[in-house]
Symmetry: D2
């Protein structure tokens, strides 16, 4: 174990993502040798009491209630943005201008214009930056990337993905405020498109290259909900469901769908790629498995391989336990931090950078424009 340098973290936001990131920072050095050691210097949130409780829980050294003050502190190296989407741009740009590294939750921004300014800010400031599209770092997904890059599938014909949930079907569920900002268009920008499809698109671009054009439909099944911030029943501005067809630049066809109205699916993110020689599929409900098909195998024993991605020669898995023993969801964030720290030591960018995440933003924007105009849109 080599000597490690401290990396002083200032976390903004103490919700669900605040927890996953804090856990990642605290665990990374027990398992990965990266050259750096995250230090939980400060957590920032508007509610002092909640921020203080979070700091106690996760052992942050200090608390801020004004993110501008946090950014101004000399003892902070990196700003981690875990706040609602409508705050990403202003925080990230200010942080970059202050010379801080920036780790931003996905999606990058509310729209392409914001995203472009964010990219410009981090590139002008030359600060390390990354967006937390964590599913790339599920070992089975990283292994899928490796298999695709090795050319095992040959020419790609089809890519399909879905992200299905069922938690907003109850019409009595309100919108807005703390845990429900994802249902509030002002805070979230969009519904499932930015929240769930953004994950699917990020993985798709990573595995299968750029998207050329899209045709989409969106739907809001529950048209009005009580708003927690106003106390009134208000129009729902987000998309409850979104599906789109697309062409990838490599000539393959894409099919994507996301919804929060699919009974029986808690967080079922799936993808499948079909190529000339073989296919791959994966789903988040059994994230430690990758299914692989190779048509070149002898026909009488040909079938989908059910690969239990828990061996030491599979991505990230030499750091954990022994073959057959699963890791879970939270480990994807540990891997992201580990890669970020290793890249920092090596002076490399950590994918997806803001610039890469902007590509996903462009597809999201084309989707929403296509749904609104009921026409194909170029990305």
């Amino acid at each position: 174990m080599r000597m490690t340098k401290p990396l002083n973290i200032g976390l903004i936001g103490y919700g669900f993502m605040g927890r996953t990131h804090s856990n990642a920072y605290k665990r990374v050095n027990d398992f990965f040798d990266t050259g750096y050691r995250p230090v939980l210097r400060a957590v920032c949130g508007r509610d002092m009491e909640k921020a203080t409780a979070f700091a106690a829980q996760w052992q942050y050294e200090s608390v801020e209630t004004d993110w501008q003050k946090l950014i101004a502190r000399d003892d902070i190296d990196a700003i981690d943005i875990c706040t609602p989407n409508n705050t990403h741009a202003k925080i990230a740009i200010a942080a970059a201008e202050a010379g801080k590294m920036v780790l931003c939750e996905k999606p990058l921004s509310m729209n392409v214009e914001e995203g472009e300014r964010m990219v410009a800010a981090v590139e002008n400031a030359k600060v390390p930056n990354t967006v937390w599209y964590n599913y790339r770092r599920v070992p089975a997904v990283t292994l899928a990337k490796q298999l695709v890059d090795e050319g095992r599938l040959g020419r790609i014909f089809h890519y399909r993905a879905q992200f299905l949930q069922d938690w907003t079907i109850d019409a009595d569920l309100p919108q807005g405020g703390a845990a429900l900002w994802r249902l509030d268009a002002d805070a979230a920008g969009s519904g499932v498109t930015g929240d769930l499809l953004a994950h699917c698109i990020d993985t798709a671009i990573w595995l299968n290259g750029s998207v050329r054009d899209v045709t989409a439909m969106t739907e809001t099944f529950v048209k009005e909900r009580m708003h927690n911030l106003t106390g009134k029943v208000e129009k729902v501005g987000i998309d409850d469901a979104c599906a789109f067809l697309c062409h990838f630049e490599n000539g393959s066809l894409g099919l994507f769908e996301s919804t929060r109205y699919a009974r029986g699916h808690k967080a079922l993110y799936t993808f499948e790629i079909n190529g000339e020689h073989g296919s791959l599929r994966w789903d988040l409900h059994d994230l430690h498995r990758l299914e692989y098909f190779d048509h070149r195998e002898e026909s009488i024993i040909r079938g989908w391989h059910d690969v239990h991605v828990t061996d030491g020669d599979m991505p990230y898995m030499d750091k954990w336990w022994v073959p057959g023993l699963q890791i879970g969801y939270e480990h994807t964030f540990v891997h992201h931090v580990a890669d970020f720290l290793t890249d920092l030591t090596a002076g490399r960018a950590t994918s997806p950078t803001f610039a890469e995440a902007l590509q996903t933003q462009k597809v999201c924007q084309a989707i929403l424009a296509s749904a609104e105009s009921a026409s194909w849109m170029s990305v």
Copy 2:
């Protein structure tokens, strides 16, 4: 077992569907008590030698090489059309005009215009008619219909289906002629849309009601193939793959895809329906299983039910073996014949009739028009 009346069958076409239908006629009375007994009076095909061999194999009493002669025979009650799609209309119309019952392979016709004339012909002639959308009569699919009709799913939000195959990826596969007429646009009318999506659409309309509008994309991955009829390399006119989004009249969203370029899938027809209270899903590779989810169940034991559709109180299954023992693909045709004969005895139409199958044709036509125009099309 009550007395049965003979029903004299004249089968046109001795390909794959000729075999499945012949098997159904021969087996139905061993298992079902319908009031009728099919008699394999004649098989008709242009190649006398092949038709004769087929007749010997399946014990048809006679052979014809001219379908018009077959239709003219007094000893034939019902004409069964198993020929390529471009012959359905003329044969069906002539048969109806001759007062014969008509059982026609799917898809009904090459296009809506043809289909409308076919419907008019059978309705004017008042002859029993049906189209072999056999997957409705997989017991698990029939059970799904029953569960939907009982209202168990509540308001429907989503319907998705796919039909994935991988048998035409090899660019050296020729098009046209006997076994490969499905790759020849002149004979088939379209590619996967009429061949595979038509099944998906028939089931969808049956389970979830009419389709309002669609946006589609099609692709032909292999642009030219040797043509068996001309001996030359010719442009491929069919769609190798097709995907579309749609709105159903009930307000739910639809997502459909079919391809012959999905490695690892031999004939994977799947569908899933998501409603307010529950969901259903099924796939053809394990056709004896239905998956059912009911959100109203107690939360700690809530999960998808894996229903092995082999018990005597499930559709059609009292006629076969004992619980746990599967039936297969061919039984769907036996069930269709059984229902047709039972309906005949009762003086009822057998679903899907030509008129019902025309609805599927309208969706198919809208899909192809949408793909060509790159725009949403009303059905």
Copy 3:
């Protein structure tokens, strides 16, 4: 299609097995070219009315109520025994002595002594004979045999099988008589051992060779049941459940279990074989699939192959439909008849012969003796 010779069948017993065999005889020539054509000459049963109805249903030409008369008929070539186990020996021996071929339902006999006399009878008479251990002829199981015989698994370490049902848990279910003779020790000889484990043992010996010794336990959970034949509540003489450990002659370890008290399993016959290089597993609830594991594959794509046994190069499947389309339970009997007829043409024995089935009987007897004595028994 070559010319076929008639094979005149005399079927004894019109229960569940009478139906599966009749179906097999009627269907075999539609799909297989064997040189013979079964003719349903007569069905025999003690109840004239039921036998007559069965004959009408399945189109048997005549009916007998005395099996000795059936055996005496000159127009019968083969006797098919579908009666309760306690009648197998006397019928089979009489049939052999009359020079008839004998096809006997499993298990061969009530005990080893009976079985030995049956083997002697058919061997002395030199009549073709076979026992209907039908599961050998599930295509996936036949494929497993092929893979084992090719040496793909290497040295075998483990064999395990189970046959789980749940249909006798209700204590109000009576024993004895028509459909319930399997619960009557006088008619069945034993419970799950002869009924279900016999299947598991037959397959095991076929795939993995002879069994050397066993230690077993049996249990009768419901000690008394109303007896249909006496009208009184009587002691239950059969084993409701049986499990045993064994050594195979090849040095591998065996583990077997059967019960009719396993909730959730209708007819779950499973087996798994583990060898030095690979493994195989199969189950009857999805009988068209074989799972195959080969440790010599590259580690990052190594996993159980899920083989959908529906392609034309897999056992028996060139005779049925197209890849992806399943066959079911009843087809195993069609395959058995097809092999019997083909072997007859070729002058070969059809496995399992009476002599081979006697080996299974010996294991069953050792199991019951072991359970009774609570000690290891040699086979």
Copy 4:
């Protein structure tokens, strides 16, 4: 979050289990509110260099190379034993006599006699004690216990379990020394019986009550291996595989098997329970799922429920993420520590105690005696 008291841990052994326990101590307070806070005071191992590296990796405050010195330290509250099995008794007894709490890796001891002395020591000293049978605290397994305790299965008929691995098939693998002490009979006491079956038995007793008697067989497939400690090829003293049948006190039948020679299984621990009303099954390769069957459900939708155990109302899951997102193997140890600390606060014993784990030891000893004597043994 209430104030926490420190609990000073002295860990002995820095192998695989040393890592899982250390991780648990470090993580527990981020997620659970127990009243205590583990402090990693010291790690002890015979190799100073390795122990020091481990301490640096996991942030232990100090290092010892003599476990007796560790036990003598005043600043240690609890001794955690992660050493090979042949050292458990002496360390645990000394620790108890020194008034330390004792957390001991499984299996408790080399044999029943040792185990009895260990139980006596902790009971005489009245020190909190527990044995790390971690699989009880997989949320799906804990949920199974809850469902059984609620009486949902009714009278139990069958319990079966297996623990299958494939990592010792290579005959060139040596025995003994650091990572391979599990293959050395002197260090491990037995092979799969103490290592893997002990887990199965612990869960079985917890879910289904005591075992009355057993009949077992063991096998050592590779008879000689190079010994890392002597450098010579020596006889292998452990059991490579073990299977046993048993009766439970509640009248149900048990069937257990474990091996390290089952190709395709990395760490496949499975169990299934069949009761009058329903059944449960689980496996370690997908540890976040529980399958549940209830026969009392309406027949047409009856089937195994596939329960994704990730919701907040399921055991332990309110402490982690959101529905649909899995946790993994390591979390079972976090749960064990959390329960231990909570029980400490409440003044309760933490199951399994040494006394409870002794019951498993008794079954293991009966198994080995049965295998040696080839006879049934009472427990």
